[in-house]
C-alpha cells in the first residue's frame, strides 16, 4: 500500500514537471523556431526584392509557405517587423503571420487578410488587441509601402468567415475599397473566439530601401 501511494506521488510530480516543460516549449520553444524561419524568409525576401523584376510578369505569384510582404506596426516599436507568409495552414503560421490565399494582395481593392499567433510561435499578433482607430499598419512589398489605418475591431466566433470576405461582413458584395483585416485568437491563450482588426488603405509610398531603413 505504501509503495503504491509513493509511486502515485512520484508519478504526479513527474507529470507536473513534464507539464511545466511543455508550457516552456509552447511559449518559448516554439518562438525560437519562428525566429529561425523569419530570419531565413527575411533574407529570401530581401534578395528577391533586390533582384530585377522578372519580365512579362504583371503580378508576382508567391508560393504557399514563402514570404509575401513585410508587416510593421509603428505602435509596437521600430523592432516590430514580421515577414507575412502566403498560406494559413498550421505549418505556415508557425513561420509567422499568414496571408489567406485568395484574399486580396497588399494594396489591391478588396480585403488583404492576415492571420497570426497571439501567444505561441513568437506571438506576432500578441499586442494586436491594443490597436485602436487611426493606428497605422505598414505593409512593405517589393516597390511600395502600403499604409493602412485601423478603422475598428470586433470579437467574433471562430466560424465567422464573413470577416475575411472582400467586403467584411458582407460576403458576395463587390469590393470598392482597399482594406486590411488581421485575425488572431481571443482571449489570449484560448481558441474560443477570434479577435479581428479592420483597417483601410490611406497612403502608398515608395518602399524605403532596406539599407536606409535597417541597421
Amino acid at each position: 500500500m505504501r509503495m503504491l501511494i509513493r509511486g502515485l506521488g512520484e508519478l504526479c510530480i513527474t507529470a507536473g514537471l513534464v507539464l511545466l516543460l511543455f508550457v516552456t516549449y509552447e511559449l518559448w520553444g516554439t518562438g525560437r523556431y519562428t525566429q529561425e524561419q523569419q530570419q531565413r524568409l527575411d533574407q529570401e525576401l530581401m534578395r528577391s526584392w533586390q533582384a530585377p523584376r522578372p519580365r512579362n510578369v504583371t503580378t508576382e505569384k508567391v508560393r504557399i509557405g514563402s514570404g509575401l510582404a513585410m508587416i510593421r506596426i509603428p505602435k509596437f516599436g521600430p523592432k516590430y517587423r514580421f515577414v507575412v507568409i502566403e498560406g494559413v495552414e498550421l505549418s505556415d503560421l508557425r513561420k509567422g503571420p499568414g496571408h489567406y490565399p485568395g484574399s486580396a494582395l497588399p494594396g489591391e481593392v478588396g480585403n488583404f487578410v492576415v492571420s497570426g499567433h497571439r501567444t505561441t510561435y513568437s506571438a506576432p499578433f500578441n499586442r494586436v488587441g491594443e490597436l485602436g482607430e487611426g493606428d497605422q499598419i505598414l505593409i512593405d512589398t517589393r516597390d511600395t509601402q502600403y499604409v493602412y489605418e485601423v478603422t475598428g475591431r470586433k470579437i467574433v466566433q471562430p466560424t465567422a468567415v464573413e470577416v475575411t470576405s472582400p467586403v467584411p461582413m458582407h460576403p458576395g458584395r463587390k469590393p470598392t475599397r482597399r482594406l486590411i483585416t488581421l485575425t488572431t485568437c481571443h482571449p489570449k491563450y484560448s481558441a474560443a473566439q477570434r479577435l479581428i482588426v479592420f483597417g483601410e488603405l490611406v497612403d502608398e509610398k515608395p518602399r524605403v530601401a532596406p539599407a536606409a531603413a535597417g541597421k
Binding site: G7, E10, L11, V18, L21, F22, Y25, E26, G29, T30, K61, I64, G87, V88, E89, L90, L93, Y100, P101, G102, S103, S115, G116, H117, R118, T119, T120, Y121, F125, V156, P158, T159, A160, V161, V163, T164, T183, T184, C185, Y189, S190, A191, R194
Partner: protein, 59 residues
C-alpha cells in the same frame, strides 16, 4: 519508482548521480524534440484562423 531506478543504477554514488542526470536529460530531449512537436498541434490553444476559409489558391 525513482528509488528503484536509483538502486538499480550501477557504480558508486557519483557515477550513479551522473547516470541519473543523463537519464533525465534523455527524457527531456525526447519530450522536447519528439513528443511536444507531435502534441502541440493537438492542444492548440492559440488558433487564430477563422475556420474553413482557405479558399483554394487561384491557378
Amino acid at each position: 519508482m525513482y528509488a528503484w531506478i536509483w538502486r538499480n543504477l550501477p557504480g558508486s554514488r557519483p557515477v550513479r548521480a551522473a547516470l541519473a542526470l543523463v537519464l533525465v536529460l534523455a527524457a527531456g530531449i525526447v519530450l522536447w524534440y519528439l513528443v511536444f512537436p507531435w502534441l502541440e498541434p493537438k492542444v492548440q490553444f492559440d488558433h487564430g484562423v477563422v475556420d474553413g476559409t482557405t479558399p483554394a489558391p487561384k491557378g
